[in-house]
Amino acid sequence: MNVHGVWALYKYEMARAARTVWQSLVTPVITTVLYFVVFGSAIGSRMEDIGTVDYGAFIVPGLIMLSLLTQSISNASFGIYFPKFSGTVYEILSAPMSPIETVIGYVGAAATKSIILGLIILATATFFVDLRIEHPFVMVLFLVLTAVTFSLFGFIIGIWADGFEQLSFIPMLIVTPLTFLGGAFYSIRMLPEPWESISLANPVVYLVSGFRWSFYGEGDVPVVWSLGITALFLAVCLGAVIWIFRTGYRLKE
C-alpha cells in the first residue's frame, strides 16, 4: 500500500479546496441560507407540520442531502477531470499508485469536503429552526455513505467527461431534478397517485427519506430500504471505477 501516495493526493485535493474556499464552502452555505429564508421562514410559517415535524425543520435533511449530492459530484468530477484536461494526469499515471489507492485519495478528499459542508449546513440550520437528531449514528452513517457514493459517481463522471459542459450536465440535468422531486421539500406521501408510486423509482427518495428518519424517526420508506439502496448504488459505482482502471478507459491510450 502506497500510504504516502494516497496521503499526498488527499492533501493536494484538500489544499486545492482551501485555495477556492469561497467556491467550495461559502457559496453552498449562502444558497442553503436562502432556502431557509424562503422555504423555512417565509413559506414554512404558512405550512402545516408534516407528521410531527414543523415544516422548517422538515426540509433540513433534504437540504443537506441536496448539497451533499451536488458537491460530492462536482468536487470529485473536477478533481479528476482537471488533471486530464491540463495534462498533469501523466504524473498520477506514472506513479506507483494502484487504482484503489488513486480512488481513495480523490474520493476520500471529495467526500471529506462534502461531509464538512454538510455539517456546516447543519450548524447553520440550527440558527433557523429547532432541530432534533434521534439517531445520530445513523445520521453520520448516511452522511458518510452518501458522500462516498456520490463522490465515486462524480469521479466516474470526471473520467467520462471530454469537456466542461459534460461536467455540469449530469449534476444539472439529472441530480438536481431528482433531488427536488425526491422529497427534499415535501413528503412523497403528499403526492396523488400515480406520482407517489412513480417517485419510488427515484433513488434520491430513499436517501432523503433515510436521512430524515435519522433526524425525526419518520421517513417515506422504511430505513432499511434506504440503507439497502444506498449500499447498492455504492457497489455499482465501485464496480464501474474498478472496470475503468482495469481497462484504462479514458485515462490511458
Binding site: 502506497n2 504516502h4 501516495g5 496521503w7 499526498a8 493526493l9 492533501k11 493536494y12 489544499a15 486545492r16 485555495r19 491540463s86 495534462g87 498533469t88 501523466y90 504524473e91 498520477i92 499515471l93 506514472s94 506513479a95 506507483p96 499508485m97 494502484s98 484504462g248 490511458k252 491510450e253
Partner: protein, 317 residues
C-alpha cells in the same frame, strides 16, 4: 554492462489505427546517457510513455531493473522519474508544495532536507515559495525536473528537454544532465537535435516510423554520417571485385551486375575520378551510375532540416 531497461518486441497501435511503435527492441545500460534520436512523430514519446505506464502497449514486454512494468508496476515506476515533453503541472501550487507532492505520490516519506538540496542544485531554492505560474519558462522546466527527481529515482527519462529552448538554456540543461549522470542516474533523453545526441549521449538509438533503425555508440553513429554510395551498373557481370580495384571500398550487388562504392561525402577526395579511371584501365565498362545516401543519412538530413527550422523559430521568439 547490465541492462537496466530492457524492451522486447514493444508495439503500440493507437485507437485511431496509428502504429506508433513497431516491434521495438532496446536495452538501456546502467549508468549511461542514452539519446533516442528521431524526427517528430517517430514514436519517441510513445516509447517513453509505454515504459512509464502512461500508454498501454499493444504488444511486447518491458522490464526495469529486472521487474516487469505491468506485473510489478509499483517497483518499476518507483525507480523511474519522468520529465514530460510539455510543462504540465498545477500552476497555482508553490514550487516546494509540488515537489513534496511528487515525492509523496511516488511513495517516499517526507524528506525536506533532500528536497532543499535538490532545489538548490536546480537553482530553484529562492523560488521555493513562489507559485509556478510566476516563474520563467526555463525555471518551469527545472521545476518539472525537480518533480521527477523528488523521489530519488535511479532512471530519469527526459522527453525533448531542450525543444524550443534557446542556446543558453540548452547548454545549462546539458550541464545539469551530465551532473545527474555523474551521480549515477541512468538518463534516457529524446531529441530531434543531432547536435544534442552527439554532445550528450554515450549511445544513440535512431527511431523512425516506430522502428529503431540503429543503436550504437555515439561516435560510431556519427562516423556513419555522410556515408554515400555510388552504384555502377556493369556492362558485364563480375564474379568478384577485381584485384586492380582493391584500393576502394567496393562490393558487388545484384548478383554481380552492380558494383557499389561506399565513400564519405565529407572527404575532400572522394576517390571517384580515380576509381573510374582504374575501371577504364582494367576494361570494366558500365552502362549507368547512381549515387544515394544511406537510409541513416536520409533520416539525418530530415533531422537537420527540422533542426534548422526550429532553431530559426526559437531565436526569432
Amino acid at each position: 554492462m547490465a541492462a537496466v531497461v530492457s524492451i522486447e518486441n514493444l508495439s503500440k497501435t493507437y485507437d485511431g489505427g496509428v502504429k506508433a511503435l513497431d516491434s521495438v527492441d532496446l536495452e538501456i545500460e546502467q549508468g549511461e546517457i542514452f539519446a533516442l534520436l528521431g524526427p517528430n512523430g517517430a514514436g519517441k514519446t510513445t516509447l517513453i510513455s509505454a515504459v512509464c505506464g502512461i500508454v498501454v502497449p499493444t504488444g511486447g514486454t518491458v522490464t526495469v531493473a529486472g521487474h516487469d512494468i505491468i506485473r510489478e508496476y509499483k517497483k518499476t515506476r518507483g525507480a523511474i522519474g519522468l520529465v514530460p515533453q510539455e510543462i504540465s503541472t498545477d500552476m497555482f501550487e508553490t514550487v516546494m508544495a509540488t515537489v513534496r507532492f511528487s515525492r509523496g505520490l511516488f511513495g517516499k516519506p517526507k524528506n525536506d532536507a533532500y528536497l532543499e538540496e535538490l532545489l538548490k542544485d536546480l537553482s530553484l531554492w529562492d523560488k521555493k515559495d513562489a507559485q509556478i505560474r510566476e516563474l520563467s519558462g526555463g525555471m518551469k522546466r527545472r521545476v518539472m525536473i525537480a518533480k521527477a527527481l523528488s523521489h530519488e529515482p535511479d532512471i530519469l527519462f527526459l522527453d525533448e528537454p531542450t525543444a524550443g529552448v534557446d542556446v543558453e538554456l540548452r547548454r545549462g540543461m546539458w550541464r545539469l544532465v551530465r551532473r545527474l549522470n555523474d551521480k549515477g542516474t541512468t538518463i534516457i533523453l529524446t531529441t530531434h537535435y543531432i547536435e544534442e545526441a552527439e554532445e550528450m549521449a554515450d549511445r544513440v538509438g535512431v527511431i523512425q516510423g516506430g522502428r529503431i533503425v540503429i543503436v550504437d555508440r555515439t561516435d560510431a553513429i556519427m562516423r556513419q554520417l555522410g556515408k554515400r554510395q555510388l552504384s555502377l551498373t556493369l556492362a558485364e557481370k563480375l564474379d568478384a571485385v577485381p584485384a586492380a580495384l582493391c584500393g576502394w571500398d567496393l562490393e558487388l550487388a545484384d548478383e554481380g551486375h552492380q558494383l557499389v562504392y561506399t565513400f564519405d561525402a565529407n572527404d575532400e577526395d572522394t576517390g571517384i575520378p580515380r576509381l573510374l579511371r582504374a575501371m577504364d584501365e582494367a576494361g570494366i565498362g558500365f552502362t549507368d551510375l547512381d549515387t544515394s545516401k544511406s537510409s541513416l543519412e536520409e533520416i539525418f538530413v530530415d533531422l537537420v532540416h527540422r533542426e534548422n527550422g526550429t532553431q530559426a523559430q526559437g531565436e526569432g521568439a
